[in-house]
Symmetry: D2
Subunit: 389 residues, 4 copies
C-alpha cells in the first residue's frame, strides 16, 4: 500500500446515545487506515461539542451541522481536509448529507438503508452514479470473512445450480413498546417519519435481503410478503416474512423480526444448490458449514489457509482467534480505503477490495422495502420485483 | 400398572427394506409392554414368511395378507389373539387395513399421514370416531420429552400470548432422482399413487404441521403455500414453504424440504409469545432452549427434576443419558399401552398418557395436504383452512 | 440370522428404585432378540414379587434369590430355561452370581465394574476364561456407533501414530451429601462395602478408562493419579484425575468427577495422532468430529453411508434420527446375541459382532481402580500399571 | 474521560511477518484512545523503515533500535513525545527494552510471557514495582467480557467455595516440524534461546495458568507437571499437562498443547464450586455457561443488561453483535488508557479499569514456567509452587 497518509473522516451523526456511530469508528480506526478529523455529531451544538471532546477532536473541527462541516472543510488545504464523510444518522437524514457530501467532492460511507424512501433512493442513485466519488453502504454482514467464502464458493459453482436461499434475522428487543420507555434507538426506529414506512423490514430485513443476493449471486424477481405489527400500538411492522423467487428460478424465504422475544441478533443464511449447501450464522461467524451429499459436513473456519481469496483478504487473525462484528465493519472500511489508495496511486484495485456494498445495493434495498410494503397490501400472492432507477 | 400380560401386536407391512417398520418395533418392544405376535409383512407371501422368520415369529401367525390376519386372529382365543394392529405400509394402504382392523375390534397404530387423500381421511375419521377402539397416529416428534415440556409451558401461559410459530423440516436425501436408482423409499414416496399428491409436504410437512399445532396449542386458520419441484423429472413437490395464520392471530412459517442438499433430518421449532420464547431441534433433542427477555437463555434438559409432568412421564433415563428417535416412538407406544391398560382396569388414565396423536390430528394433517396443494395453485395469497369432517 | 427363538433372560437385581436394571431391559428388548423370562429382582421376596408383576412375568419364575433362580431354571426343559443371566446388582453382588451363573452353564451379562475388588476380579477372570460361556461387561459407551467409527479409523491408521488420549467424565449429582438424603443410588455408590474402595473412579472413571483403551487400541503402562473427596464427610473419592502413559509412548489424561456441580453426564474423548485427531462427546453422540491438518473439520454422522463397518453394524436409524444411550446398550446386547446365535448355528460371527467388552476389559478396569488408589497414596509421580491375572 | 489527547505509542518489534504486533495495534487503535507515533520495528533498519511506511508513520520517528527510539523521543517536547512503549518482540527481547523504557519514564505494554527466564523476571519485577510507571502484560484472554463476568460471579461467592479449576489450551499447528519449513513464528517459539526453556507451556500454558488464577481468584500452591516433546527433533516441549493445588485446597488440571493435530485455539476454562459451576471457551467467547444444581443451565451473553460491572465495562457492542480476540486486546488497552487518564486528571480510576494484568501476573507466570520444568524433571509427584521475588 504505497500511500503516506491516513484517510480523514468527517462524521455526521454519532452523538451521545448513538449505537452505530461508535461501531463505525471502531471499525474504521482498527486498521490504522483512517483517522477522525472532523464531526457534526448532533444538531444540538452543545451535544456535538461534548461528543467532540469525548473523541478528543480538535474543537475547531467540531461543527454544529454537516452543512457547516462541508463548507469549512473545503476551505482547508487539501492535505488537511477530510477525505471521507461518514453518515450515521437516522434514515431521514441520509439523503441530504450524502447528496451534499458527494457534490462537495467527498467520498461517502453511509449506514443502511440508503434513504428514507424509494423516491429519495432513486434520486440519490443518480447523484452517486454520476459522480466519481466512492460510496460505501455499510451492509455489515457482507464484511464477514465466512460470508465472503460462501459467496466465492457459490460463484465458483461449488454448490452447483442454486435452488434455495433461506435467510432469517431474528431479534427480540422490541417485544414490548420500548419506544415509550425513553429508549432512543426504539424511538426513531419505530417512527415512520425518521425511519421510513417499513420498521423491522427496513431496519434488518434489508440486511437479510442484501445478504441473500450477495451470497447467492442471484437477484429477486418477485416477492410475497406478510408484515405484522405484533406489539399493539406500534405504527409500523415489527415482524414479517417474505417469500422470494430469484432470477434463476430459485426459491427463497426471508424472515425478520424484532419481536422474537428473548433473541438477540443471530442472523443466519442457508443456500442450497444441486451439488451442495452452505450454512452460516452470526453467532458462530467464524465458521461456515459446507455440506456435500454422501460426505461428512465440513466446518470451514476463518483465518485458515484453505480459504479462497475473498475470505483471505478479509481477516486479520489466525484461525481460532475469533473476529466479530467490529471486524466485519473494519473489513468494509479497509476495502474502501484500499480502493481509494489504489485510485490515488493510479493502480487497479484487487477485485476482492472492490467487493463492498454500494449504490446498486442501496437502490435494491429500497426497492425491497417498497415491494414488501406493497405485497403486504395486496391479496395477490406474488408481486413482481422491479427496480426502478 | 396392574395388568398381567403384554399387548400383542399384529404388524401390517414392515417387510424387507422397510425403514419405519423396524423402528416401530424397536419403539414398541423397548419398554416390555408389547410383543410381536403376528404379521402380514408383505403382499408377497415369500417375503412375508422370510420377515417372520427374521423376527422369530411363530410361522402359523405369519400371514400373506392383513385380511387373512384379521380373520385368523379372530378365531384364536381372546387371550392369545392380537390386541393391536400396527400398520406401517405406504400411504395407499392405510385406509383399508385401518378401517378393517377397527371394525374387527382391534386397537390400531398407524404410521402418518392418515390416508392417501382427503376423501379417505374424512371417511376414516368417522369410522374411528364411531368406534370404541383406540387409535394412535405416529407423529413421532410429539413423543419427545422436551417437545412435551414446550407444550406444557406454553399451555400454562409461561410464554404469554403466542404470536409466532416457526417450524422447519429440512432433509436433503432427494436432492437427485434417487427414485430412479432402485431406492424403495424414494420410489413410493415420490409416486403420487402410493404416496398421495403432496410429496415432501405430505411426508414431512405434515409432521411439521402437527408439531406446530401440538406445541403451540393453536390451530391454523389460513395458509399461503408455495410448493416446488426442485429436481427435474419428479412428479410431485420435494420442497416448499407455507405461511400460516393461527386462530389467535399468531403468524407462522413452515418450511419443509427433501432437497436441502446435504441435510439429514434436523426438524426444528421455535415459538414466541409476548413473555418468552422456546426453541427445539431434533439434532439436540434432549435440550429445550427457553428465553425470557432480560435474562440468560435457559437450557432445559430431559431427565431432570425441574420438568413438568408431561415431560416427566415421557423419559426413561436420567439427565445426560441421551434418548432419541426410537424413544420418541416408545413414548407414543407406552402412553397408548397405558391407556389400554387403564381402560381394561376400569381406571382413568392420567392426562399425560392420553396425550398421543390420534384421529383428530390425522384429519387435520390430511386437510393440511389438501389446502397447501390448493394454495399453491391459486394466485390469491391466502387460502382459508377449514377442516371438513 | 437363522434362529428361531428369542434369548431368555434371567435378571439378577433391578428391583424397585434400580436405575440401571430398567435400562438394561430397554436395551435388551428393543431389537426383539431377547425376552425377560425369569428374575431374582431383590433379596426382599416381596419386592422381587412386586417387580415381577410390574414386568408382567410369570410368577412361577420370579425368585427370591439368584441361587434359587439358577437351581429352578436348570430343572426346566432346555427350551424353556433362561439362556442368559443379566446381573445389575451393586458391585458387592457381582462376583458370586456371575461365578455361579457361569458354572451353571448360563451366558452372563454383567454391569460394570467387574467386581467389588481386584482380588475377586482375578478369581472371576479365570472362571470366565476357563468356561465356554459368553460374557458381556456393559461398558455402555463402547456401544455408540461413532465411538466404533473412531476406533476403526484409528485402527486403520487414519490418524497416524497416536500420541495423546484425553478422556473426561464429569458429573455433578454428588455435589452434596445426597447419600444422607435417602437417595438409594447415592447410598450404595458412596459405600465402600457395596461399591468398593474407589468411588467416582470406580463408578465412572472405569468407563472413561475403558473408552480410552477401546478407542485408541492402546494399553496403559503407568499412571499418576490424584483422587479427591470434595464433599466433606464422604468416605470415598468423588472426583479425580489420572495422568497416563500408553504402551506406544502416548500420553493420556483422564478426568472423572461426580462433584462438577451442575453437570450431567457428558463423557468426552479426544484422541490425537500425527496425522489427525478425533473428538466425541456423549451429549452429541451421533456426531464424531474428525480433523486433519490444513483441512476443514469434518462431522461424521451416525447412520450415514460413508461410515466403516463397525459403525454400520451398530445403528438402526438413518442419519438424523438420533439414537442414544439405550441404543448403545442395545448394540452391546445385539452383538452378544448375534454371537450366541452364530455359535448355535455353527457359524463364525462377524468380527464387528464380537467387538463387545468382556472379561479382559473387566480385569483391566479393576486393575485401573487398584492402581489409581495406590498412586494416590504414594509420593512418587508414576506407578507402573501391571495387570495381574 | 476528561482528557484531550490520544496516548502516543512507540512500538518495539512488530516488523514484517510479526503476528502479534499487528493485533496489538488493532486493539490499541480501535477505541480511538491511542495513536501510533513512533516505532523500532526491526533490528534490520531497512525492514523497520519499510514497516514504518506501511503504517504511514512519520519517517523521522521510525528508528533502527529501541535504544535510539527512547533517546530521540526524550528529546521531543513532552506533548509530542510517545507516552507508552509497546513491546511485541520475542521473549529474549522483553527484559531489556522494558527495563529501559520504564527507566526512561514511559508506560509499558509488554506481550507475555514477562521475560526469557525466571532470573530476568525477578529483576524486572523490582524495576517495575519501584517505578511509578504503569505496566500492562497482555494476557489477552483476561480481557474477554465473559471471563470478567465469571471472575466477578466467583468473587461474589455465587459459585460457593471453589473446589476445581479445569483449563485447557489446545492448539495443533506444531503437529509437525514447521520450524524447518521457514515459518518465522514456529522458528522462534521452538528456539530455547529466543523463547526460553518451556515451549508450549511458556507460550500458551502461561495464558492458561493466568486465566485459572484470574478467574478463580485463587493461587497455585503446588504442581505436578508432565511435559512432552511429541514431534521428534524438537528441542522443547510442545505438549503437556499440569495438576495443580490451590491455596484454598481446590484441585486443578491444566492442559496445553501445540500438537493436538487439527485444533486451532479453543482455550477453555471450567470452574466448579459447591454451589455452581461456570464454563467458557474462546470459540464461543460471547457466552458464559453458568450452572446451578437442580436448575436449567443458563447462557450468560456479552452485551446484555444483566451482567456485572466488570463485564459491562469491557464491551462495546450490544448483545448478539459478536466481539472477539481483537476486542479482548482492546479491552486491556482501554482499561490501561483509562487508568493513565485518571492519573493525569488526579482522579481515582474505577476498580474495573484497574483490572488488567501487570507485573504480579508476570512474575507468577515465569514462576509457573520454572516450576513445571522442575516438576517434569523430578520423580516426586508434587513440587511446591513458591514465587520468589
Amino acid at each position: 500500500m504505497s500511500t503516506n497518509k491516513k484517510l480523514k473522516i468527517g462524521l455526521v451523526g454519532g452523538g451521545p446515545g448513538s449505537f452505530i456511530g461508535a461501531i463505525h469508528l471502531n471499525g474504521a480506526l482498527m486498521d490504522g487506515l483512517f483517522e477522525l478529523a472532523a464531526g457534526a455529531f448532533s444538531s444540538n451544538p452543545e451535544k456535538s461539542k461534548q461528543r467532540g471532546e469525548e473523541l478528543m477532536l480538535d474543537p475547531s473541527r467540531v461543527y454544529s451541522s454537516y452543512d457547516e462541516m462541508f463548507e469549512k472543510e473545503l476551505q482547508l488545504p487539501e492535505s488537511e481536509r477530510i477525505d471521507v464523510v461518514v453518515i450515521v444518522t437516522p434514515n431521514n437524514v441520509h439523503f441530504d448529507p450524502t447528496a451534499k457530501a458527494i457534490r462537495a467532492g467527498f467520498h461517502v460511507v453511509l449506514d443502511k438503508p440508503l434513504t428514507l424512501n424509494y423516491q429519495e433512493a432513486k434520486e440519490l442513485y443518480h447523484i452517486v452514479k454520476n459522480s466519481d466519488r466512492k460510496f460505501l453502504l455499510t451492509h455489515t454482514y457482507s464484511g464477514y470473512p465466512m460470508i465472503k467464502q460462501a459467496k466465492q464458493m457459490i460463484a465458483e459453482g461449488q454448490l452447483g445450480k442454486i435452488h434455495k436461499v433461506y435467510v432469517e434475522y431474528p431479534q427480540g428487543w422490541l417485544y414490548k413498546l420500548l419506544e415509550n420507555e425513553n429508549n432512543k434507538q426504539a424511538e426513531w426506529r419505530t417512527d415512520p417519519k425518521r425511519n421510513g414506512l417499513a420498521g423491522c423490514m427496513g431496519d434488518i430485513g434489508t440486511h437479510a435481503f442484501h445478504l441473500a443476493e450477495y451470497v447467492s449471486g442471484l437477484q429477486v424477481e418477485k416477492v410475497c410478503a406478510d408484515l405484522y405489527i405484533k406489539v399493539e400500538g406500534r405504527p409500523i411492522d415489527d415482524d414479517g416474512v417474505v417469500l422470494m423467487r430469484f432470477n434463476n428460478g430459485a426459491s427463497g424465504v426471508l424472515m425478520a423480526s424484532q419481536t422474537d422475544t428473548g433473541l438477540e441478533n443471530n442472523l443466519k443464511i442457508r443456500v442450497f444448490g444441486d451439488k451442495g449447501g452452505i450454512e452460516w450464522q452470526q453467532e458462530d461467524n467464524n465458521s461456515l458449514i459446507v455440506r456435500f451429499p454422501g460426505q461428512p459436513a465440513q466446518i470451514f473456519r476463518a483465518g485458515t489457509g484453505y480459504l479462497g481469496s475473498l475470505a483471505q483478504e478479509n481477516t486479520r487473525t489466525p484461525a481460532g482467534h475469533p473476529e466479530g462484528y467490529v471486524e466485519a465493519f473494519a473489513n468494509l472500511y479497509r476495502n474502501f480505503a484500499r480502493c481509494i489508495y489504489a485510485e490515488r496511486a493510479g493502480e487497479t484495485p484487487k477485485p476482492e477490495w472492490e467487493d463492498y456494498p454500494g449504490i446498486e445495493d442501496g437502490i435494491r434495498g429500497m426497492a425491497f422495502i417498497d415491494h414488501v410494503l406493497r405485497s403486504t397490501e395486496t391479496d395477490y400472492k406474488w408481486t413482481p420485483f422491479i427496480v426502478e432507477k
